[in-house]
Amino acid sequence: MSENQNNPLKAFFRKPGIWIKLPSQGKFYHTPLAELNAQGEIPVFPMTAKDEILLKNADALLNGSAIRHLIESCVPCIKDIDGIPAIDLDAILVAIRRATYGEKFEMSTECACDTKTTTEFVVNLDAIISSIKVVDEIKPIVMDDGIKVYVHPVNIKSLLNLNWIQFEQMRNLQLADQKGMSEDEQLKLVNASYDILLNTSIQSVADCIDEVLMPDLTVVTHKEHIREWATQLARPEFKKLEENLLSLSDLGINKKINVQCANCDKQYEATIDLNPTTFFG
């Protein structure tokens, strides 16, 4: 199935399904985007059967190769896939789904009322795509001690790496439980897993910091100094940084939908789940 990989005509096999505006407008990428038109839009192609089948492979989904391959195939103008900022990822996934299966996306949510009624509804992906917002600037995160942290969005490489490490640690713990390890050994393993996750998380956050402005207006840009500072932060402070960085990915696209419960008539907010395992199912 890979005989076409080196074919110079590969890009001409399919016609672009749609053109979308990227929230980042090409900022934060190491390699400039090819084919960005005058309106700042890029072409997105529909998935082929080959792409669809890769999204059904659990291992490829977990280690991130399914997502990398999907973007390489459907958004060929992005060359630096690992460097895609998270603010663009959601818009890209919605556009690929729209280009492949059309504008309707059926989903269901459960109301928090006593009966836990499930409401099924159809989301119009065109409406979501047309409401993509361009992120002009990212405001610095102001810490309690007056330090200002200038950041850029987390990229796909960090996101996928974090997901993979989380999964690996969880699998190790499950295996330890199945092998019948003693409580002491299990505790050691839990602690080791926690350390690995924490270090990866600190590294991901530190990687997103461009500079730190201290109250006396001294600017720190040295990567290692920033990482060391992030490691020493108190838990609430670190959480503030982490949550602010994660919330950046919600800037470009509105994933919130108002739903009315079929049982209690109460309106509540549901979020469109863009997890590729279910979103492309």
């Binding site: 199935m1 399904g17 529909p46 669809e52 089948i53 659990a58 492949t100």
Partner: protein, 68 residues
């Protein structure tokens, strides 16, 4: 486990879809993997019409819900 089984079932369904199209249309199995979802739907619809015409069934002779 339930998710894994569902992914496996969906994989088999796509392969079966491609194999059916390849067998009935005579197109290359490898080439059909480059078809998009919409192209496969259109291809399948056109193929069904062709098979009916080959069998001598005119569209006007088809038994439809409205005639019952």
């Amino acid at each position: 486990m339930k998710l894994l089984k569902s992914l496996e079932a969906e994989t088999k369904a796509i392969i079966e879809d491609i194999a059916t199209l390849a067998l009935y249309s005579g197109q290359s199995y490898n080439e059909l993997w480059n078809f998009t979802h919409e192209e496969r739907l259109i291809f399948s619809k056109v193929l069904q019409s062709k098979i009916k015409i080959d069998k001598g069934i005119k569209p006007s002779q088809e038994l439809t819900q409205g005639m019952v």
